[in-house]
Assembly symmetry: C2
Homo-oligomer: 339 residues x 2
């Protein structure tokens, strides 16, 4: 398994000193390069330039990154230490202002520090790291649980269409949408994954196809506009995608192009599944129309000189097009009522 | 207007000697470069690498290319000349398997050669060129007629989605799918064209957006996977695309991604129009399932090392998803019965 986000011990068995170790995803698929980081500026920069991406992976990296930078704080005062950790957390939080898991993981680490009520600073440093490792461990458990709940949807010789990257490179372990595929593969099942290249940033062809192929899973890269034809040819038995935010009624936001795939799947009578941790569910939103759609830089798309570009990064798939939502708690069928 | 395919006289007023002159579309939108060709290998290569593309433009280029290469045949025997022209035509015909206009234009030139019953070879060379120029002239007339029959579908402030390039760069003149837009623009109507970038070769962002913007028409480039979202946002009033081959029942082959757009248009209640010359209609095919789909080089898509690629260049939109087919003869409504 790819170790997208991990803690690297620098002195054998002891947890500290250590560094945040991440795969530099900007180098994929050409090179598998690991970065070992313990300086706040370089960690913020790595998140900003998408060396680590995918909501769960960003959360894990932020928590481990906070522990890695906090170990160097020189003070004997617990109060002073916590204040400095808060400053570091603010810097990390500013790296991706829209990533909910980032704030969630940082807040959880800070709350733990305050709650554990320890005056010894070196022990506080350890507590910060233990909480980060717990976040990573829970993420790994979440991935495995989604895999177990979803793997039986994949029959022998199935064709699966996926979009963007909700895989090992987006999480601490097996991924979300890709986790049922890894689980089915571990059981020796044979199937083929069609991976949309996912314009404009090509996470499908650069990341999903690369990680599945590396794991020995049969994968075929297609352009986004080939999905309908591949469905029409009978190559696809199910669609499985991740999600960035799910409303209380099951409407699910995900990478641009997902909604179109759901319409195409319905037209071809193909089941359409969303796989995501429960932390992705935002029950404060009654429906998907309340999920803001981020419009990104036109330069990502690339256009002829003087031509306008429209570059929405996400779309929302209405619950009526979703056959099932797989979380770490199980496979949810419609109608969806999350709270 | 862009002169995508023309005959270039080499000696002032006389038609011969001359060359096929085409815009090298592989260089767009960065540079507007013209190629002048009269050698069979370079013309076949230019068609194969898509320096000239778009079914009507390929037909014109093949006919003019046949005349350009045939002028160099050294023989006094009409029989021998025609046999050698047939050999050249076979080489040209093998350059692209799906575009019926290619075969149509070559057959028409050959039939004309045989039918005109001339024994003087230099006169035969002229006849071959005259027929090619007639094909080009008719293509220009065809484009204008499609524009006239289609422009009233475009209301003031309409949003139009198009895919690939069925414009001036795909024909001898105004294009097919884009011709109604040029015609409406000439009448001072204001509207916005959403141009799919059209992976893998980006004819939409490189060619369609470039040529519409150059003509002063408001155009927005989107990634192919954004079409569903743009429709959902209410930005699209109609879809207008070209076609490479139309079966007797109206099933229409066009650039990969077209079929998916037709499904999305139906889901959103948006009319979906195909614009193409009658030369695109292949009444020998009862339905679209008989249209061969060209599978192109995986390298066009680009994938991680070791990952398979599926790269169908076309798909077939069933007649039931097509609101109307615009030819030079008028707007045809379903049910379609071409012969």
């Amino acid at each position: 398994m790819l170790e997208t986000v991990r803690w690297k011990r620098m002195n054998g068995t002891d947890l500290l000193p250590g560094k945040l170790r991440i795969i530099d995803q900007t180098k994929l698929p050409k090179e598998l390069v690991f970065l070992e980081l313990d300086e706040i500026g370089e960690i913020v920069a790595a998140i900003k330039r998408l060396s680590v991406r995918g909501a769960p992976a960003i959360g894990c990296a932020a928590a481990l990154g906070l522990a890695a930078t906090a170990q160097h704080i020189e003070t004997d005062s617990a109060e002073r230490f916590i204040a400095e950790v808060e400053t570091l957390a603010e810097k990390l939080a500013a790296s991706r202002p829209t990533a909910v898991n980032l704030f969630w993981a940082l807040n959880r680490s800070l709350s733990h520090l305050i709650r554990c009520d320890i005056s010894d600073v070196s022990e506080l440093k350890r507590e910060l790291l233990r909480e980060a490792l717990a976040i990573l461990e829970e993420d790994i458990g979440m991935c495995r649980a989604i895999g177990e709940h979803g793997e039986n949807l994949i029959a022998e010789n199935a064709g699966i269409l996926t979009h963007c990257n909700a895989g090992a490179l987006a999480t601490g372990d097996f991924g979300t949408a890709l986790s049922p595929m890894y689980a089915a593969h571990e059981q020796g099942r044979v199937f083929t994954v069609y991976s949309d290249e996912t314009r404009p940033l090509l996470q499908g062809s650069r990341l999903t196809a690369w990680e599945l192929n590396r794991a020995g899973i049969d994968v075929v890269t297609i352009c986004d506009n080939m999905a309908a034809q591949v469905m029409k040819e009978g190559k696809i038995d199910l669609v499985m995608v991740g999600s960035d935010r799910i409303a209380a009624n099951g409407d699910a936001a995900n990478k641009i192009g997902t909604y179109g795939l759901a319409v195409l799947a319905k037209h071809h009578g193909i089941p359409f599944y969303v796989a995501a941790p429960t932390s992705t569910i935002d029950a404060s939103l009654a429906h998907g129309g309340l999920i803001p759609i981020e419009i990104r830089d036109p330069a990502e798309v690339g256009a002829a000189e003087g031509v306008r570009v429209y570059n929405p990064a996400f779309d929302v798939t209405p619950n009526g097009l979703i056959s099932g939502i797989i979380t770490e708690n199980g496979l949810h069928r419609p109608p969806y009522h999350f709270h």
